[in-house]
């Protein structure tokens, strides 16, 4: 059970603060896989990282993060250390390079675990079971990362990251570098990990929304540092309330749709600068239904159970 309240995180740059995450408030239930979607640069990674690994130039501005009833000291790199891995874990965007290239994987895992006070040999049977689960031979433990293919590395990192059964797993863009077939396999594994209780809640960050449709229980859509909408995935696809979400979904090509038959439409305009963004709803400029109220920031309200929207038009 993860509760995020008014989380605000900025990047400090020489020209001022980049307001990459503004007043984020949402909840993830145990066993929920939440997809985090939105266009590039809208703050998805920022949100993901701030839950586990908030370090300069990221600046903690405000807000609370409560995991399983315990507040995470996310603003303190050192205090956070204890929570990382055991409670919150991460499959990073750069999973391909996340393993120390000069250590055999098994040895690296052992050292990693020992350093966290866990006995490698105790965990080894479980580790092997999970390798089986992701269809990796046990030999990978005796190999160097370079000897594995991209997909294998990806899966290895998945296993490593979830080995201590964290209650929150953040998977950042883990499928974008993979082929469709591998993509599917990896996604199914995430679901399986959840099903088997290796992790409780999962946040999957991706810009490939069709994947979220396949595996996510709920989807959180962000726009320019603000949360736009969160709802069970079916609802996001069938009955989204935020105009941005609707336009986004509408622009996705589907197999079986050809341009001659149905011409898709993009969203005109481009997102605002996050350095000194305009006040109010940040989608205002591009929104077809914007009106004068939109100069105020719309609150992220629950309009039906599990369906949150931040849009004056939607309430």
């Amino acid at each position: 059970m993860l509760q995020v309240e008014n989380l605000t995180v900025y990047y400090k740059t020489i020209r001022g603060y980049v307001q990459a995450l503004e007043q984020a408030t949402f909840k993830i239930a145990d066993g929920e896989i939440m997809g985090l979607a939105g266009e590039s640069g809208c703050g998805k990674t920022t949100l993901g990282h701030s839950l586990i690994y908030l370090r300069p130039p990221m600046n903690y501005i405000g807000g609370r993060v409560v995991l399983d009833g315990q507040e995470l000291p996310i603003w303190d790199m050192e205090k956070m250390r204890e929570f990382r891995y055991r409670h919150v874990s991460l499959i990073p965007q750069y999973a391909m390079n996340a393993l120390n290239p000069t250590r055999k994987i098994g040895r690296m895992i052992a050292e990693l675990l020992e350093s966290r006070g866990v006995n490698y040999n105790d965990v080894l049977p479980e580790l092997k079971r999970r390798l089986d689960l992701v269809q990796l031979t046990h030999d990978v433990l005796k190999m160097y990362p370079i000897e594995l293919s991209g997909g294998m590395k990806q899966r290895t990192v998945m296993v490593v990251s979830t080995l201590l059964n964290p209650s929150l797993l953040i998977a950042d863009e883990i499928t974008s570098a993979l082929d469709v077939s591998t993509q599917k396999a990896v996604c199914e594994m995430l679901v399986e990990f959840r099903d088997r209780g290796f992790v409780k809640s999962t946040i999957i960050i991706t810009h490939d929304i069709s994947i979220l449709y396949q595996i996510a229980d709920s989807i959180l859509v962000m726009y320019a540092g603000q949360l736009s909408e969160k709802a069970p995935s079916e609802i996001i696809f069938r009955d989204a309330r935020h105009p941005y979400t609707r336009l986004l979904i509408g622009s996705l090509p589907k197999v079986g749709v050809r341009y001659r038959e149905e011409r898709l439409r993009g969203i005109p305009g481009s997102p605002p600068q996050l350095l000194n963004p305009p006040p109010g709803c940040r989608f205002r400029e591009r929104c077809p239904v914007a009106f004068d109220r939109c100069v105020e920031v719309p609150p992220f309200l629950e309009i039906s159970p599990g369906h949150f929207v931040a849009c004056w038009r939607a309430y």
Partner: protein
């Protein structure tokens, strides 16, 4: 218009090129007038290599590529320039396509210097603005800026506009939308469709099947440098003949249908070597029979215009 005949590309690696990597093997297909052909395949299957071969950016190992009847490998100097007047490419990473330290419109200047040295400044700037408008950009917004001041979609359109400055007949679009946001993607895709309407042929290289379906007339499915299947898009998508294509179709995340939990995708082959006898897909193929392991299947016409390379 453009035809590839038994095109093979072998990269030589290591000191003195003692190692070989077969990136493209015996590929034969054509692109007709006003046709969008999508080239689909997983990463490393040789899609970009084919694009670069057509664009003469890398030399061919064997086979022939003919553009309007002339073998492109014979071109050089002037004739190569003439070729580029008709055939151009746009690549995957819009940011990498611009030299980050120069302003973005430098790519237009380069075209002018090389292809229109005589044209006067006003005429030229009109031409440029025309091309920019044609790709849906507002010239004053985008001219005179550095690449990092423009968005990926804008840059990608810049590149298309650049190609339009020449009287191109064929555009090689190598994953031109994979780095773009979902919403911008569509605009660029639609732009391609418009170009076709203006009489261009397009080789649309992608790994995203839904995009390939959206835009193309014909699809070529590549697996490890070989053509697995090709034919009219709807035939290939709806009635795939090759097990690989079938698997792909199954794995595509669709918005109208959830993945079938029952059909488990075979994991990719773990570091299988390139040099195998028989069908390259055999090791992953659920339907493989004995002959698959021994002999390489030829590309056969299964129905009109629909080819497949599979023993089954």
């Amino acid at each position: 218009m453009l035809s590839l005949e038994h095109v093979t590309k072998i990269y030589r690696l290591g000191a003195f090129g003692l190692q070989k990597l077969i990136a493209v093997r015996d590929v034969t297909f054509e692109i007709g007038e006003r046709e969008i052909v999508s080239l689909i395949g997983e990463s490393g299957s040789g899609k970009s290599t084919i694009g670069k071969l057509i664009l003469r950016l890398i030399p061919l190992t064997s086979g022939r590529i003919c553009f309007e009847g002339t073998d492109v490998s014979t071109l050089n100097g002037r004739s190569l320039k003439e070729y580029y007047r008709k055939v151009q490419g746009v690549f995957q990473d819009p940011f990498a396509s611009f030299n980050p330290i120069f302003k973005a419109d430098r790519i237009f200047r380069m075209i002018r210097e090389e292809f229109y040295p005589g044209m006067n400044a006003r005429e030229w700037s009109e031409k440029v603005e025309g091309a920019l408008r044609a790709v849906g950009l507002n010239p004053p917004d985008v001219l005179n800026k550095f690449p990092h001041q423009l968005s990926g979609g804008q840059l990608q359109r810049f590149l298309v506009a650049r190609a339009l400055l020449l009287d191109i007949r064929l555009l090689i679009a190598d994953e031109i939308i994979s780095m773009l946001d979902a919403s911008t993607r569509v605009d660029v895709l639609n732009l391609l469709a418009d170009l076709k309407a203006r009489g261009l042929s397009i080789l649309f290289i992608t790994h995203d099947l839904s995009l390939g379906y959206y835009i193309s007339d014909r699809a070529v499915i590549l697996y490890r440098g070989r053509i697995a299947e090709m034919g009219p898009t709807d035939r290939v998508y709806n009635y795939p003949l090759h097990p690989y294509t079938e698997m792909l179709m199954e794995a595509v995340p669709r918005l109208d249908r959830k993945w079938d939990e029952e059909i488990r995708v075979e994991r990719e082959g773990e570091l299988a070597s390139m040099a195998v006898t028989g069908c390259v897909y055999a090791s992953r193929c659920p339907k493989a029979i004995d002959i698959c392991k021994e002999q390489e299947p030829e590309l056969k016409e299964a129905e009109a215009g629909h080819f497949v390379a599979c023993w089954a």
